[in-house]
Symmetry: C2
Amino acid sequence: MFDKKIEYFMIVAEEGSFSAAARKLLLSQSALSQQVSLLESDLSIRLFDRNGYRPTLTKKGEVFYKEVKRLSLQYQNVVAHLKEQKKS
Amino acid sequence: MFDKKIEYFMIVAEEGSFSAAARKLLLSQSALSQQVSLLESDLSIRLFDRNGYRPTLTKKGEVFYKEVKRLSLQYQNVVAHLKEQKKS
DNA sequence: TCAAATTACGGTCGACGTAAGGATC
DNA sequence: GATCCTTACGTCGACCGTAATTTGA
């Protein structure tokens, strides 16, 4: 559904770590770092506080995560519902 | 927000034509045709009836469009709201 | 015959991995 | 010192355009 950058962001937010998210996504740390950074600059919104170690969500990052997660679940419901049906 | 394929699909659905949507998106007809076809096979859901000329939404395509449009507007509201705010 | 859509085929740009460097525990 | 994140850089695949084909008005 979502842009790849946003899908990645959600996993990082859930795992609280790029490396854990990377393992889950079978992706490199650097790829995640790159894509999440790109998302932040696309939005012009800082989503994570970076101390150089574990990233933590900013206030805006938390709001963004909650909303985007909610929309993602709704989307999955829509698709699941459509797939259950006979041909249109 | 959405995957590029879905963004394209929405415009085609709104315009009722690939060529009109292509002009709007400053994109070629073939690029749109490719991406929308890919979306349909990704989802395993036929979204348009193709008679070879003007495409028309299937029943499922209509439902998908309405839902996805609704989610898209919600997303835009979320981002707009976050951008209005001071630094987190 | 004209307009619209699909298919085939190359080129280009973005996404990814590896490697190196910096920071925190 | 070990782990985690970032940056630099080269590679590969996805996306797009052009051209040719097909189909409907």
